[in-house]
Amino acid sequence: MTKVSINGEEANIEMTNEEFEKVKNLLNREPNITELGMFDVMWSEHCSYKSSRPKLKLFEDAEANYNYVLAGPGQDAGVIDIGDGYALAFRIESHNHPSAIEPYHGAATGIGGIIRDILCMGVRPIALLDPLRFGHLKDNPHSQWLFKYVVKGIADYGNCTGIPTIGGEVEFDDSFESNCLVNVACIGLGAIEDFKHAPSRAYNPGDYVVLMGGSTGRDGIHGVTFASRTLTEMSEADRPAVQIGDPFTKKMIIEATLEAVKTGFIRGLKDLGGGGLTCATSELTGDGNTGADIDLRKIFTREPGMNSYEIMLSESQERMAFIVKPGGLETVLDIFKKFEMSFAVIGRTNDSKVLKIFDDNNLVVNIPSKALSKSPTFKRQEKRPSYLDRLIAQKTPKPSLGLKHIIYKLIASENICSKEWIYRQYDHEVGVRSVVKCGDGDSGVLRIIGTDKFISASVGVNSKHCFLDPYEGAKGGLVEVCGNVIANGAKPMAMVNCCNFGNPEIPESFWYFSKSVEGMNDFCRNLRIPIVGGNVSFYNEDEVKKTAIKATPIIMMVGLIEGEENIITLPFKKVGNDILLIGETKAELGGSEYHSVIYNLEGGTPPKVDESKIKATWDFLFELYKRKFIKANHDVNKGGIIVSIIEMCFRNNLGAFLDFSGTINQELRDDEFLFSESVGRFIIETDPEDYESILEISKQFSLDIKKVGVLNVNPEINVKGLKSQSFKLNVEKMKNLFDSTIPNLMEI
């Protein structure tokens, strides 16, 4: 940060000299301090994507290439047409830096922000999902503090607004110890008409600009610039840059906004998030090709004496900007009055294409509407880290423990154990839509009331895999989240991503970002999945320790199920049924839980994605669904096939006779076979009568499927057919370990 002084007024800015020169060129003069602050905010990494934009151009134009995509990247949220007149909006965002400093309010306002993004598409927010990353909890009070209050912040905010939190994902790893990741995703549902009513543009001159919701205070000033640099010990002093959420006001904003949109008098809608009023007014007019005159003193402030710089840069929460047709102003304001919301008519649009802000009668800001979005971009250097070859070459040690004890350890490990401690705190049922609930499936499934349609949503990526190979890791993340929705019977429809990386000015950090984007792009083009939005969070580094977080390109997938009878769930159901493994197991233990839990190893050979195999597996599963052959389905993920099978036994307290003699490849060791995290595999439950037909169908798809066991009434898993001795696992004991890990760490 540098301190600048213009005409006796001082401010701290992040801008480089080059950028300052560009501002002068755009204005043909020197900016005043308020204008400079506005450019500084809008040209921050957080708002302008100046490092990532050149790379993100790789993604195909989803709106142009997929007929059901109604809004793609660049909008506040991606929107798809799911038929029957309904639009589904969704987006994912990060709130990492605020949460690392002040976990409760940081996480809560993250939820607040993502809800606004969905709301400003004119649809009702109906679900939240939260991928999280923390340091290990064991013996680490700081990680426990972050974890406890992030979860509480999400719960208190989400529960109060009446939006169910239907899913999420969490990993614990040392690299996130000081820079935790809090990503928040929201899904909205509405009539396609309502979505069309409310574009995020002010395209019509003469409309009113109305600000509604919370008052504008001094909180959150420079929130985005704070998010655009690394965390340091100085960050404690940045605590005032974290906003304070008010979920009750947010609930009122949701209801008032949706009622206002229904009138048809709203011509544009924008939330006030990062960059506050600066971002909202400049994007509304800039994207709408209009201008506006705004009167600053109409804005209701939390305290007297706020100057124009503070009002324009404030990131106070719970505010929305409406562009209202002149004939409808009274109707819209009456709705705001009914909900007892504060509001102010702060200005009108015009055709000047200039944004003018007045403080009393003084013109304090006079900027061409589009100038603020003309940030320069940076071509960042990228370099593959030199440590990777050494890491990938790491060999799996010879097991010092018996396989049975290794399995008990894995089941109880932080990254595999039950996450019930988290989701019990989230109201995941409000809205009466939640059909497959937290813990019952690989994804959350919601019904669309009034139709026979269901949506499925999942979030995730494996940070340890991405650390070793970001290109394959990002693809693997897509395989995983697609696998999650497919396991519940849904067809993957579209994805959004949230890229969490280190400092883009460091070539090794930028390489991770660059390779992840390439991986996502290649996979989505090959498998025809539209990318309808994204968010980038850089500077996730710990400057004191000089370490970056493990690369984490979180992916959110939304899928569609037609017909209640086509919903599939995770638990094994019937004694005597077959357990089948679909997909090939390779010696891919790099970045596995087995390596990290048992040997404290980060390296090894990470999984690789074979897109044609993946495609064939998905097509095969949908064929089996069509024939009603699948009784239960779970994708194979952390801990490998044995962990997936165990998880499927829990709900109905079943056991299994497993015989791997026909399955295990001669070149594989027992531990490689059981714990490999090769992607794209599924465990399914089927009726033995259908086995021959299933084998026949698998040949059409050139797939290798194996029967690995039979379900047993005794809650015991008997494992044989490995190269080493047979062993038995006690399902109740494992369930106990699985359930008690996080409570034991957190409830002291």
């Binding site: 529960n159 109060c160 009446g162 609930k251 019990r424 705190q425 049922e429 009466v432």
Partner: protein, 236 residues
């Protein structure tokens, strides 16, 4: 004569639409969503205060809503015997408005809890339970942070048969493990002396459709059907 039910929309209520959905589309009875300031008792046979966070639960859960004009209207209904039902936050409002005795304190685990529980029916003569049997065990979800029922007058409640529901095991045992929030004597719902005002923490509107239930049950319908039956008997 057609039956009409009001579901009050307090600012911050969030189970209001869910409750209207179940009444209209599952129970097939006419229900209106009524903004709290606009509520007039004369139009309705029954009123439901739905779950949520009325007025953000600021100050104390339910206390601000208890002073809404809607509560004055509900009092008229209470006095002439029409059903006044409080679900979750609605129960908190009813105790704050002193329609029902006792209070709802923070859960003993100090956290919000969302899960399916078992509910044992203790009184089947009320406006919300006349279609149930004593000792029936119902599957229903809870979702609250402040649901630990407490009263100084336990004896009075018991003597007057005001305990309507208790948390139990699937087999109907009243154990500590079956009690999700530390409520006194596993109490989940109570009624007034006249049995037309009932408050309960669990959510019958979330348990009225088999598709939403982990056990494919629809026990929630029993609550609303009881209410309809009570109204029919009252007006006939």
């Amino acid at each position: 004569m057609s039956i009409k039910i009001a579901v009050i929309q307090f600012p911050g209520a969030n189970c209001d639409l869910d409750t209207v959905h179940v009444l209209n589309n599952v129970i097939n009875v006419e229900a209106d969503l009524v903004w709290h300031n606009h509520f007039k008792e004369t139009h309705y046979d029954s009123v439901i205060l739905p779950g949520g966070f009325a007025f953000g639960d600021y100050l104390r859960a339910g206390i601000i809503a208890a002073h809404s004009p809607a509560i004055d209207q509900a009092k008229i209904m209470l006095k002439d015997g029409r059903p006044v039902i409080g679900i979750c936050n609605g129960f908190q409002i009813l105790t704050e408005a002193q329609f029902l005795p006792g209070a709802l304190l923070q859960n003993d685990c100090l956290k919000f809890v969302c899960k399916w529980v078992n509910l044992k029916v203790e009184n089947n003569t009320t406006a919300l339970t006349n279609q149930m049997k004593i000792d029936d065990v119902l599957a229903i979800p809870i979702a609250h942070g402040e649901g630990r029922y407490y009263t100084d007058n336990m004896k009075e409640l018991e003597d007057n048969n005001q305990i309507v529901f208790r948390y139990s095991t699937e087999q109907g045992e009243l154990t500590q493990e079956a009690n999700p929030n530390g409520s006194l004597a596993n109490i989940a719902g109570i009624c007034n002396l006249e049995q037309n005002c009932i408050g309960l923490m669990p959510h019958p509107e979330r348990a009225s459709e088999t598709i939403l239930s982990p056990k494919s049950t629809d026990h929630g319908k029993l609550f609303f059907n009881s209410m309809i039956e009570f109204i029919k008997r009252r007006i006939s």
